[in-house]
Every structure is written in structure tokens, then in C-alpha cells.
């Protein structure tokens, strides 16, 4: 059923991208993460996963919705820094034009040499989903794109 639902909004040769920006803030000793997804794609994915209709334009303060988003991102994105798995602290989300920005944080990171991602964001929605990573640490920015079904990625700084 989930598979059928995922095709309901198919557009031939569509443009399914999300962008994950990760920035190591050495001064504040944390890692700032923002996940940017097209609003309608994300609404469809949430509906599929949690069986309820969500209008993200109206839900910025909805506690339930924020919880669902948090659950979804946690289940689809895992981060390991210098060999240690990390818990992400959910900060909230914001809708800007056609995208929803989800903000998360990892605290107490003094330095970052190697970061590993396991990312399945929106692969349950669309098997043409592409996740672009922009990771900044130690004054250097590295970029990479994950195409379904590839889900693991490593950056060394």
C-alpha cells in the first residue's frame, strides 16, 4: 500500500531532491543541521508514514506535527562522528516558499574529523529521490549526492 501511495503524485522525470546542510560550529562546539525538502513531497511522505493529512504551512506550532517530523527524521537519518553514534536534538521547522527547512543540532562536539551518514530520507516516498549533502568543518566544505538506494556516506576532514 505504501508503495502505491508513493506513486500517486508521480510526475514523469521528476525533480526529487532534498538538501542536507551540516556545519560544525567549532566556537559553540555543536553541529548544526538543516534538512531542506520540497513541501508537497514531505507532506505526502508524512501522510504515508503516519496516516494523517498534514498541511505544513499551518503546522509550525503544532506539537503533534513537530513530533512526527522528529520521529521521521530520526528514523531516516543517523549520524556517527569520529566513530561515535550521535543523537540529534530537534529544534523545529519552517516553511519557506516551496521548501520546508527542518533544523536539528548535535551538542558537545569539540572537533570533527570523520562524519558518517546513514540516510534514507524520502526513499520511502520516491525511488528517484536524491539527497545532496553539504558538509562544512575545519574551514572546508565538501559536497556529495546520494541516489537511491545508496544510503551511506562518509566525509573525512
Amino acid at each position: 500500500m505504501a508503495f502505491i501511495l508513493s506513486l500517486l503524485f508521480s510526475l514523469f522525470h521528476p525533480f526529487y531532491v532534498s538538501v542536507i546542510d551540516v556545519n560544525h560550529n567549532a566556537k559553540d562546539k555543536n553541529v548544526e543541521i538543516s534538512v531542506r525538502i520540497f513541501v508537497d513531497d514531505f507532506e505526502t511522505t508524512l501522510k504515508q508514514n503516519f496516516k494523517r493529512n498534514i498541511d505544513l504551512h499551518k503546522s509550525a506550532n503544532d506539537v503533534q506535527v513537530n513530533k512526527l517530523i522528529n520521529n521521521y527524521v530520526e528514523s531516516k537519518l543517523q549520524i556517527v562522528i569520529d566513530g561515535r553514534p550521535q543523537a540529534m536534538h530537534y529544534l523545529g521547522f519552517e516553511v519557506q516558499k516551496e521548501s520546508v527547512w527542518i533544523f536539528l543540532e548535535i551538542n558537545n562536539i569539540n572537533h570533527l574529523k570523520k562524519i558518517n551518514f546513514n540516510c534514507n530520507l524520502l526513499y520511502d516516498f520516491q525511488d528517484k529521490q536524491m539527497n545532496i549533502f553539504n558538509v562544512k568543518a575545519n574551514g572546508v566544505e565538501k559536497n556529495y549526492k546520494l541516489d537511491h538506494p545508496k544510503s551511506s556516506l562518509e566525509f573525512v576532514f
Binding site: 500517486l8 510526475l11 525533480f15 531532491v17 528517484k128
Partner: protein, 791 residues
């Protein structure tokens, strides 16, 4: 045949060279601004160097007479067609190639272009089922039951997966027509499960189907001057190359179905109820959409499920394909729009699941799209334009299948609404690219998708100034463009070989065109050239070189640097400000003679030596030894002067003779007091820019001044032509700047904005002085010469 050979050779050399050839690869210039010439195919009588169809341009045509039945009970299409193919080429053809797209759904006859698959901890059930199904014949695909000539004599044919070759009994000569008959059938697939353009969608709640019938009849491939037969397999991915022609189609469906189709219906009186026919006649002259088939009628039909049949007749002229939707669930509304005085019926068909959205928006978006595209391209030439809600996103001539359903309670989220507006605009827009401006989609996905996405963006921006377009603005492509090179490919890459079509074939070309329009060439020149391209190639088959050449030709700008960088390479725009030097006007003159060059005489006081070559080259020696040569100065001795003797040592050079020199400073005129006052507040900024990303782009520089005002200059990209990596420019103003910024409106898709700013302008500026060089005519002597010394 010879012509084909020559063209084929040109084509082979084109594919070998279809890359960003560098003219001067070891140097820092002479590459990016070179003409595309060697990369593009040689112009010929079919396609000119200016990008227009040539005087010997030809294309084939093909007419279809089709009768078919949609058997809803057995989910089958049964059809018979009479096809007449006209050979307008100069070549004799011994066979014809046809497309059997439905074979892509067969487990044994599909194109079989496989891709890698992997084992995951969680396997999707659909992929498991597919692997099991692939081991046997699933019964899908086209079943040919008859293929004969016009007299009923069997024709020999061969099926190669999704392509069929009909061997002609005698070669079809230039100018001749060939008619054949074909009967076929196929099982209609579940398009939702198969992720297919055509097929059925089943609604379990009311037990009804919505049929999208597309790519449903054996249809001719294109035979062209630039490729011969376009018979690349249909893999379900790269789309279509199709031949123009006229269609007469009879469609038999359950009596309570509404059929929305390419073309115009010729028998509404037979298939509509009296009430519906009356509403149709009202719709033809209405100013707002009129429901021809109402929601009440559709929901009643859903329960009824008639066992009777009706036949709908349609005719379409000068189209490249034919598709239709059929369902008893359809609500149908319509209203006219006038394009240059001609009526175009804009219509929508949608089930109740999309009612609240489609009723309000669909037909009006169709109308807005037709009108807006007509302004940017050519006036829409067809009599109808339709949008059908079918949980889809695909285009055919005069009809497209889109998405946009509401919740059960009829409400919808803003993003669903915006998504629907985007898809309807995009799909209706496809009428222009590629249905009319008929490029080969299988070769170059970007030529229709990129151009259509670009005009879609322009159209969405006209719908609502706040509309959140996904693709178009330059900065939105940056995340894609800064990916590592191994994850990118040039736009000019075959569609089957792209890892991700979306950014490469849709967004990047659309964004590129927007940059050309807003930043490089300007709206007026761009719009004119773009329209010229559309006018030239409407109802013809253009190729990328025709587009690039036409745009250069009609804008009056040589844009080869842009096509090279944006379409043929994966370079990115990353221009950085490296250094800034600031100087202010100073009254005191600075005495290093930086202005002093040839005009101001020798560095020391000696007189000038005779001007003869220090080395006698071989030409001079041979001339002297050639007794047949008479030097003019020997023949006409009046041409001999002081220097003739000086050069031969007849008057000897004496290095001890000294001359008095005028001080260089006296060569300069001092500024008047008025002039000094005028330049008192002059600031000069020398800015060095480096090209870190590879793409040469205009340099857009914005100065912010102490008083808060700003000034922006757009320097055309040609500044990079003599050094593609680094340029320096001096800017002048009468105000002190506090900061400088590159590309403040983010127009160039610059991937690194951190090196675009120069906020550090509080450093102590250096000083400069202004001089006026004394006016000296070209070639005029300036004193202090040997003739004076030897007087």
C-alpha cells in the same frame, strides 16, 4: 544513398566530437570564447549555419485512420488502423520502423536495459514481486493479429523488443506513399503499480476505472536527415520522436464513459445527452468554465456502470501523436480562449477526488498557459487544450494528464495546490515543446524538458508574483552544480545515460536560459530570439545546433561561450574578488614616468643609431644577390635622404655626440585649478577577480558607499576573453566605498558567495595623480633626432 553516407559520416564525426573541445588547452585563454564550430554538425541544405531550416529541408509525414474499442470488462484495447506513410526524403526506403511502446510492459519483449539492483535489509515487496514475475511471460505487450498492405496481402515484419520493422515489398521511392493495415490488441496495465504513463487506475471505493490511453497504437518512428531512423529502444525513460500527420480516430467505450481526447469530436450529438450538448454549446461562448458533464452526473454514472457502448469520433490535424482518457468518473468543464482571433477550447476532465481543486483552477490554468506561452513562443495553433486529472504527469498533443487530489472533505494543502498549478502549466506547456516544436526527445531530453521548464517558470511568475517556482532562479541550481565532478554530467549527454534527469535535463537548462534572459542578453533581445527559434522550427524537427545557432543569429550576440560552458561542460560559476586597491586623487605629481614611452625619446643622452636590422636575414641576402631586382631607392635617387647615407655608414654614427633632453615632466601639462577641484573627490578602486569555478560569466559588481547608496555595474563576460582565469579592472567614483559585492542579486549561480564580498575598505588608501599627455599626432616626430645633431 550517397547523401545518407555523407550525412552519416558527419553524424559520426559529430558524436566523436560532441564534447567541449579546447582550442588552446595548455593556455589561460583562447578556449572558452572559441566558436562552437567544430563541435556542431556541418551546416547543409537541410539545416543552415544560421540555425534555420534550409531550402532542402524535408520531413516525413504519416496519416492514421484508427478504430478501437476499450474493453473495460477485460481491461483490453483492441484496435485496427490504416496507415499512410509519405516519403518526403530524397532516399529510397526498403523498410519502415514502428514503435510498440506497450512491449515495455511485457516481461519477455521489453527493451531489457537493466540497471544495478542491491540487496537491502528491508526489501520493497513490489521489487520482490517484479523479480518473480520476470521469470515468465506476463501476457502484456502488443499482439499483432494482422499486418497487410492496402489490398490485404500479408507484409513481412520483424519485432525487435519495442520496435517493429515492416519490410516493404518494393523500395519506397522519394515522393511515394505506402499504405498498410494493422490489427492489434494489448492488455491494459495497472499504471499505478507499473509506474507507467498509460494504463488504468482502479478506485476500490466506487469500483471504477480511470483510463489513460497513450502510446497505444503501432506508430511510425521518425526517419530524419540527422539520424536516419530514430529506433532507439523505448526503455520507459527517455521519451519520444514522432512524425506529424492527420488522424481520424473512432473510440468505442462503455456508454456512460466520458472520453477526452486529442483533436476535436465530430459527433457530440451522438454521444452526449441533450442536456450535456446544450451545456457544451453554452461553453463554447462562455467567459467562465461551464460544466458540460456535472459532478452529479459523474457520481450517478459511478454507481450505474452501463453495459451498453458508444463510439466517439475524433479528428486531429498536424499532430505528432494521439492519446485519450476515458472514465465514467469524469466531470468535464470547458471555456474558450482566443489566440489571435482563433478560438481554443480549454477543457478539464477530473474525477470527484480532484473536484474542489480542478473545478477552481484547472481550465483557467490551461487558458493562462496557452495565452502566456503564445506570447513567448508562437500562437497556439490547435483547436483544443485539455488537462485531465489522472494522478499523472504526462503530455500528448492537445491533452495532458496531471495530478492534484483533495482530502475526502474537499480541503487541500497549499503545497498540493501549488504542485497542481505547476504540473498543469508544465504539461500543457509541452504542447509547444515538443508537440509542435518537435525535437527528438529520445536523443536530447533537455530540448523539450529544459525549454518547457523555462517557459513554465516564466508563466508561473505571471500567474502570481509570490508563486514558489522550484526551477528557474539561478541560485536554486547551486546545490546541484557544486557536487563533485564524478556526480555530474553535461546537459549535452544522452538521456538514457543520466543518473538523475531532473536537475540535468530540466533545471539546469531552464536556469541557463533564465540567466541568458535576465543577466547576459536582456529580456528584449532574448524574447525576440527565442520566438524566432520557435517560429523557424514549429511543426519541424530541430536539433540542439539549430537552437544554439538561431539564438546567436537572432540576438546579435555570439553566445558560444555560454553554450560551451553551461551546456557542454560541468564547470561551475565561482568568481571571487581576490584583491582590492583603493587610491584617492592627490594634487602633487608623482615623478616616476609611468606614462613615458615611445614618444619621449631615448633613455640616455646619445643620439639615435641608424635603424637597420642587427642581423641580415636570408631574404635580404637573396634579394641582394638577385640581379633582376632593382631597389626603388637605386632607381629613383630622389628618394635618398640623410638617413639613406646614415644607414650605410656614409655619414658615420658617433656615439660621443650628446643631446639635450627636455625633462619628461615638461611633456605633461599641469592641471588647472578648476580641473583639480573637479577631481578632488575621485576614488579609484582596482579590483582583481579570479575565475575559480571554470565558467566564464558576466561580472556584476555592486559598490556600497559611505552615504548608504549603491551602484551596480554589469560587465559582460567577454572581459575574460584574454585571460580566462584572472582579470583586473579599475573602477571610478566620486564617493568613498565601504564595501564591494559580486553578484548581489545572485544571478550567475555562483556556488561560493563567501568570496564575493569585500567589506574591508577601511584601509588607508594610496594616492594617485592625474596627468594629461600633450597631444601628439600619430607618426609625428618629437624632436631630438640625429638630423638635428649632424646639422
Amino acid at each position: 544513398m550517397k547523401r545518407i553516407l555523407i550525412l552519416m559520416m558527419c553524424l559520426v564525426s559529430t558524436t566523436l566530437f560532441a564534447q567541449n573541445i579546447m582550442n588552446n588547452p595548455t593556455s589561460n585563454h583562447g578556449n572558452k570564447f572559441e566558436a562552437l564550430g567544430p563541435i556542431l554538425p556541418t551546416p547543409n541544405e537541410q539545416r543552415t549555419a544560421s540555425g534555420a531550416p534550409g531550402n532542402k529541408y524535408w520531413q516525413q509525414s504519416c496519416d492514421y485512420d484508427i478504430k478501437c474499442e476499450l474493453d473495460e470488462k477485460n481491461l483490453k484495447i483492441i484496435g485496427s488502423e490504416t496507415v499512410t506513410y509519405t516519403n518526403n526524403s530524397p532516399d529510397a526506403l526498403s523498410y519502415l520502423w514502428l514503435q510498440l511502446d506497450e512491449n515495455q510492459h511485457s516481461t519477455i519483449d521489453n527493451a531489457n536495459y537493466q540497471t544495478s539492483s542491491t540487496l537491502n535489509n528491508n526489501m520493497n515487496i513490489a521489487s520482490i514481486e517484479r523479480m518473480v514475475e520476470a521469470k515468465s511471460d506476463n501476457g502484456y505487450g502488443v499482439k499483432i493479429s494482422l499486418l497487410t498492405d492496402v489490398n490485404g496481402k500479408n507484409l513481412s515484419y520483424t519485432i525487435n523488443k519495442t520496435m517493429m520493422r515492416i519490410d516493404l515489398p518494393t523500395a519506397l521511392k522519394p515522393g511515394q506513399k505506402f499504405t498498410f493495415k494493422c490489427n492489434w490488441s494489448y492488455k491494459i496495465p495497472d499504471r499505478i503499480a507499473e509506474f507507467s504513463r498509460g494504463g488504468y487506475e482502479f478506485f476500490p471505493e466506487d469500483g471504477n476505472y480511470l483510463f489513460t490511453i497513450a502510446q497505444w497504437f503501432p506508430r511510425l518512428c521518425v526517419y530524419s536527415d540527422f539520424k536516419g531512423w530514430q529506433n532507439n529502444q523505448f526503455t520507459g525513460s527517455a521519451e519520444f520522436a514522432l512524425t506529424f500527420g492527420n488522424y481520424n480516430v473512432s473510440i468505442t467505450v462503455p456508454a456512460d464513459h466520458v472520453v477526452m481526447s486529442t483533436g476535436e469530436c465530430t459527433n457530440y450529438a451522438n454521444v452526449l445527452s441533450a442536456a450535456q450538448l446544450a451545456r457544451w454549446n453554452k461553453a463554447i461562448v462562455a467567459k467562465e468554465p461551464v460544466e458540460v458533464v456535472t459532478l452529479a452526473e459523474a457520481t450517478a454514472a459511478e454507481k450505474n456502470k452501463s453495459a451498453a457502448k458508444k463510439t466517439w469520433n475524433f479528428t486531429a490535424k498536424n499532430v505528432r501523436d494521439f492519446a485519450f482518457g476515458s472514465s465514467r468518473k469524469f466531470v468535464w468543464d470547458a471555456m474558450p480562449v482566443f489566440i489571435e482571433g482563433k478560438r481554443v477550447m480549454c477543457m478539464s476532465g477530473y474525477p470527484k477526488e480532484a473536484y474542489n481543486l480542478y473545478k477552481k483552477y484547472s481550465t483557467k490554468i490551461v487558458a493562462h498557459t496557452i495565452k502566456t506561452y503564445s506570447k513567448f513562443t508562437i500562437p497556439y495553433p490547435y483547436p483544443v487544450a485539455q488537462s485531465i486529472e489522472a494522478a499523472n504527469g504526462m503530455e500528448y498533443p492537445m491533452i495532458c494528464f496531471n495530478y492534484g487530489r483533495t482530502e475526502k472533505d474537499g480541503t487541500y494543502s497549499e503545497s498540493t495546490k501549488n504542485g497542481m498549478i505547476g504540473v498543469i502549466t508544465h504539461e500543457v506547456g509541452h504542447n509547444f515543446f515538443p508537440m509542435i516544436i518537435n525535437s527528438d526527445e529520445r536523443e536530447w531530453t533537455w530540448m523539450d524538458e529544459g525549454l518547457n521548464t523555462f517557459v513554465e517558470y516564466l508563466t508561473e511568475e505571471m500567474f502570481d508574483n509570490k508563486f514558489p517556482s522550484r526551477r528557474g532562479p539561478a541560485y536554486s541550481i547551486v546545490d546541484y552544480m557544486k557536487l563533485p565532478k564524478e556526480q555530474l554530467e553535461p546537459i549535452m549527454t544522452n538521456g538514457e545515460n543520466l543518473i538523475q534527469m531532473g536537475p540535468n535535463a530540466y533545471s539546469k537548462p531552464a536556469t541557463g536560459l533564465n540567466i541568458l534572459r535576465e543577466t547576459v542578453v536582456g529580456r528584449e533581445l532574448f524574447d525576440f530570439a527565442f520566438k524566432e527559434y520557435c517560429k523557424r522550427w514549429a511543426f519541424k524537427h530541430p536539433t540542439p545546433s539549430d537552437f544554439f545557432r538561431t539564438m546567436n543569429d537572432a540576438t546579435g550576440e555570439n553566445l558560444d561561450w555560454f553554450w560551451r560552458g553551461w551546456f557542454y561542460s560541468i564547470d561551475v560559476c565561482d568568481i571571487a574578488i581576490d584583491t582590492v586597491k583603493h587610491a584617492v586623487f592627490s594634487d602633487s605629481i608623482i615623478t616616476n614616468d609611468r606614462g613615458g614611452r615611445r614618444n619621449f625619446g631615448p633613455r640616455n643622452n646619445s643620439i639615435a643609431k641608424p635603424q637597420i636590422n642587427s642581423f641580415e636575414d636570408i631574404s635580404k641576402i637573396r634579394n641582394r644577390n638577385d640581379k633582376s631586382i632593382k631597389f626603388l631607392t637605386d632607381v629613383d635617387t630622389s628618394l635618398r635622404d640623410f638617413y639613406w647615407k646614415y644607414d650605410r655608414g656614409i655619414i658615420a654614427y658617433d656615439s660621443t655626440v650628446k643631446m639635450t633632453m627636455e625633462s619628461p615632466i615638461n611633456m605633461f601639462e599641469k592641471l588647472s585649478d578648476e580641473e583639480k577641484a573637479k577631481y578632488a573627490n575621485t576614488h579609484l578602486y582596482e579590483v582583481t577577480f579570479s575565475n575559480k569555478g571554470g565558467l566564464v560569466m558576466p561580472i556584476i559588481i555592486e559598490f556600497t558607499y559611505e552615504d548608504g547608496t549603491t551602484e551596480t555595474e554589469n560587465i559582460p563576460a567577454q572581459i575574460w576573453r584574454k585571460n580566462e582565469n584572472k582579470v583586473t579592472k579599475v573602477f571610478i567614483s566620486n564617493k568613498k566605498a565601504t564595501s564591494i559585492k559580486l553578484d548581489p542579486m545572485r544571478e550567475t549561480a555562483d556556488v561560493d558567495e563567501k568570496n564575493n564580498a569585500w567589506p574591508r575598505l577601511n584601509d588607508e588608501p594610496s594616492k594617485f595623480s592625474i596627468f594629461k599627455a600633450r597631444q601628439v599626432s600619430r607618426g609625428q616626430s618629437t624632436g631630438m633626432n640625429p638630423m638635428q645633431a649632424f646639422k
